[in-house]
Assembly symmetry: D3
């Protein structure tokens, strides 16, 4: 299996939800009026996937997963993303932010913030709903 | 009945939904981190209420109601509300924006933009969901 | 209180949900392309309201309310409403159908189909969502 | 206006959402299989209503409202309600629990836990969704 | 990789939502009362997936995706599907219609209607919710 | 393809939804307050997937799928899972229960309870939402 592949094995998932609210603007004609400074609420769903449950019978502790998600989104919440150095020169689109949150959540898993049982997690999927009709997603392996 | 009263008569309602995305900031300690420039997606539900149906058997034409709602939200969509003269010195909270949209929708009803049948509408309710867990509403008479 | 008034007393509500799927067409220019034979899924929410709970601590038995709602919608489900004699000459709009279901549900309450405890119900509200963005409602007293 | 009346004046609302998970059983034939020990997740929506906004332009601080709701539900979360003395001899139905939470939230408002601005709140509505198809509500004045 | 395979590579998705309303009937005993002429509202979710973002940082322009989805559904909206030659002899089930819309959306991608950046899209998933409790999906490669 | 793999071929899905309500408790420090007897409502989504439609143009009869799901959940509904012999010594977490329901639904498919056309189903996914912010899933092949 290529390191870019996500697992297609049978398995378990746990999903948790939270949200954050930001301002930003985009560069590029394709964005039309969204080139102006505007904002969004993103309702974020994170799914953790693994082939087998841990000895407690869980994919990951839901309480801890909620805490890590809240901390991850807290670093973005109530920010103007145009002013954050980490996003300089980057369009902070919904799908790009899904990848950003994926990178931060998977780093938290690897450093043990979801507990030792969570090292069995294989793939993570992050979906940001920007409204009742549009969303962006990134899914990848926990390398 | 006082002009500030909303009807409590039996009756009919039609509801329509759309959304808009803006940037803004608040003034006042109560707002904590929301005093910084941030943003929101507002999913907007508008309900039109009247005691009886018109001769076509409707409260209001749903297609026209959607068009008027889209036009109303279009004037706010992709804006930084802090820069709009109409909101100078005003916290554009969710509940305040619900009232703003109520005022604009009811003005559109009164000037015939929803058709002559819509003159029978008695009360209008506008709800803005700012996330999956929080919302603001204004409801009033169509004076 | 006028018989057309709905209560504005403090009180309790129970809500239940089900759905039905029909074909129909409308007469009148206001309906545009909906003058053609088309159809809809209606997701129906019924709310029963009363000032005080019955001796069992309920507004109405939720199981019985679900059964009565299913039976009521069953008479409409999978029908072409244009061919039902009861709707001859009538536009079966979302708000009109909300009233139709209100009339049938309240008749069921009065004839004891929701049990003797349900005689304490004062008002009923019926909402039909025809899509994720549009709905129609009728609310009235249980006379 | 009778003290049992809820306002029908034009006005503003703010709504917040959280949830809790409990075990309980009911007494009474009407409950059928729910007479056995079982449980429920209740997704709770609380709406605060008032005629006018406070000087900050809000009905109530959404953050504080979320905190008070979480604290209120925290006293019930992960409990077997059959064992709580406060509910002895009482069927803890969805609509009864809506009233319980209403009483606790309104007490919190009166004792200033939502801030001095919240003394202007006139009515509160509490809805508990026990599933995707059933809910219970209590609405009353903040006396 | 077989041409019938969908990618299981890590990657990005964008999803958009709209709806349409039709009449139809089914042939076959398995359909029971749905053999009669009835109808449905379909709430449609389309997901576009690709391994990497385009130079603007997007999977596809959400505005353009919404326009193409609306145009695609517009050809079916307010129709009696039993009378459309393209569906002669075919049960227009929810899952069949998901495939129909998949075929039309992917044709629009291939002919450039979502812009040149959209040529990088690898798979498309189309889900039609026919009610709050039932849905049909087709997912395939953009060949 | 390994027997633990789920298909990544292009294909069709049908999804159906129902719910059940139970009491239970967990063993293990990771569960914190959930070690006490509490309960949950689980809203259950089951997706059936196959590469091609059957001769009637369906993945599976939605009516039959709803009936099998209701019967499967009926065996758990209104139970205290701590007292069921089949779960002795097992934490009945959301993800574990998703697997339990997967096993029972796929057994029903194999024994013909969804009809002979359903033998073409390749994979099944079961998701249990325990609240508006958390869920558990099991997905596997129909071996």
């Amino acid at each position: 299996m290529n390191e870019r592949d996500v697992s297609n094995r049978a398995g378990y998932k746990v999903g948790v939800r939270d949200h954050f609210m930001i301002a930003h603007s985009f560069r590029g004609e394709v964005f039309g009026p969204a080139q102006k400074l505007h904002g969004a609420t993103y309702v974020v769903d994170v799914e953790f996937r693994r082939a087998d449950l841990d000895p407690d019978g869980i994919v990951v502790d839901i309480g801890r997963a909620c805490d890590v998600l809240k901390a991850t989104l807290g670093a973005l919440n109530y920010q103007n993303l145009d002013e954050l150095p980490e996003f300089a020169g980057q369009n902070t689109t919904t799908e790009f932010l899904a990848r950003t949150i994926f990178d931060r959540i998977t780093a938290a898993v690897r450093t043990g913030k979801l507990g030792p049982g969570a090292f069995g997690i294989e793939t993570v999927k992050v979906t940001l709903a920007e409204s009742h009709i549009a969303s962006g997603t990134y899914e990848g392996r926990l390398t």
